[in-house]
Amino acid sequence: MVNIGFNIGDLHFKTPVLTASGTFGYGSEFDDFFDVSILGGIILKGITLEPREGNPYPRMVETPSGMLNSVGLQNKGLEYFEKDIYPQVSAYNTNVLLNINGSTVDDYIALAYRINKLEKIPAVELNISCPNVKMGGMAFGTNTETARTVIKKVRAVYKKKLIVKLSPNVTDIVDFACIAQEEGADAVSLINTILGMAIDTKSMKPFLSTITGGLSGPAVKPAALRMVWQVAKAVSIPVIGIGGIMNTSDALEFFLAGASAVQIGTASFIDPKASVRIIEGLEQYLGEKGFSNIKEIVGYINKPNI
């Protein structure tokens, strides 16, 4: 029997495959396809203190081996979540995590403080890397001083596991990972989408209403993998790899580069069962290679004997 569980501190995840925020709704969208409790965890659609309508349509365009989106954190706010969504997601027999977003540091603090009280949410992913909001979002995650401030202040009020989701739109993502570790984050997840754009030559206008959006899908995978590898060498807290993982082989690359877990994002749009197929694929691969624990391959390429 192969052990593919992983831990963030004392928080156990039964598999190292989670679903990325904004790509898996609130889980129930996938109930028809498989039992989502099989997953190590689900990270719910990004939440803000107040309801947000998001950006105007069009907010998505397909690009070579990927897509750009500028959804802009459409959600019904914390109060609605507590009342209408929390009771439903609490029924899942897996870790349900919230991805938290703010326009100001105070927003993040207020969210973290209230979510800390939700018994069934064992961890949050602090999103300081959303590229699609005018205020906050990526602005916090692309400046080392503001990143430090928001992580520090959230850490002070949030007592459970804190994961910081990092932006790739920086000169050196390692600096931000180190700041997260220094300020007491329990893990880092990377990468959020890469800022990009596309223009419709027929209409001679940008495809997205916001002009720019976040690039995801296989197109970003090599860049994401490189950043995960760099960060995993620099920090001792767990690294969760995200970026264009479509299948088992893609996921394995992230583990071999140093990720302790992965998140499946855009792949779920094309194959709603991508995450569960990857769990099965990981078990099979490890069994065939003669490993008993997935930990044995985490950061394998950095081991001195190869």
């Binding site: 790509t23 349509y57 998505m60 989106n69 749009f269």
Partner: protein
Amino acid sequence: MVKRIENLVVVENKSLTKDYFILVLSCANKDISDIKPGQFVQVKVDKSHSTFLRRPFSVHDVDFSKNTISLLIKIVGNGTLALSGLKKNDTLNVIYPLGNSFSIPQPGKRILLAGGGCGIAPLLFLGKKLRSHGFIPDLLLGFKDVEQGLEIDEYNKIGRVYLATEDGSVGQKGYLTDHSILKSEKYDYVYSCGPEPMLKNIARYCKDRKIFCEVSLENLMACGIGACLCCVVDTVKGNLCTCTEGPVFNINDLKW
């Protein structure tokens, strides 16, 4: 209604015009009795390098005796071009059935089905369903030219068909929304699908006359199951997903 992912077998790929074709897909022994008019499917396109996301198509027809579903597809890009090359016995990975459906009217009401171009697709299945409920709807179909006058025979079996073409090659000349039956006839229910400017004109026509009207919208989609929030339409209830809260909307809910 349970959504499922299945490999369906192509029974027939029927070329209609240079731009349009119909794919008939076998659902083998699967129960498809729960598919409703207005719903759509998400098709994975395998033989196109530049096609990453699935492609949504409304259900054109369901043959419950043969257990097949048909998709009427217009070639607009690389994805649909690749699909046009499918052969009998090829398999196609499909997520279905998705979205909401057209509502069934009160008994005895007069109904118009108005479809423009590829927007006629969902109206065949809807028309058949309405016939099974005892309605005999009128159909108003609009095309660019006679070349695109698609599969009218099938629609003739549902009710009286009125045609409009932009070049006047068949039916009345002009847009469907300029057709004289909209002035001469009086309808209680209008169901419509087609290009957005056409739908907006239909909506205005119905609003002015207080006619119940539902339109099927086509927005750019990624997931098709309400997870990504990309395909939103701006409604009086806020941004709603075309894929799960649509594709069929009552015009009173739209900000048109």
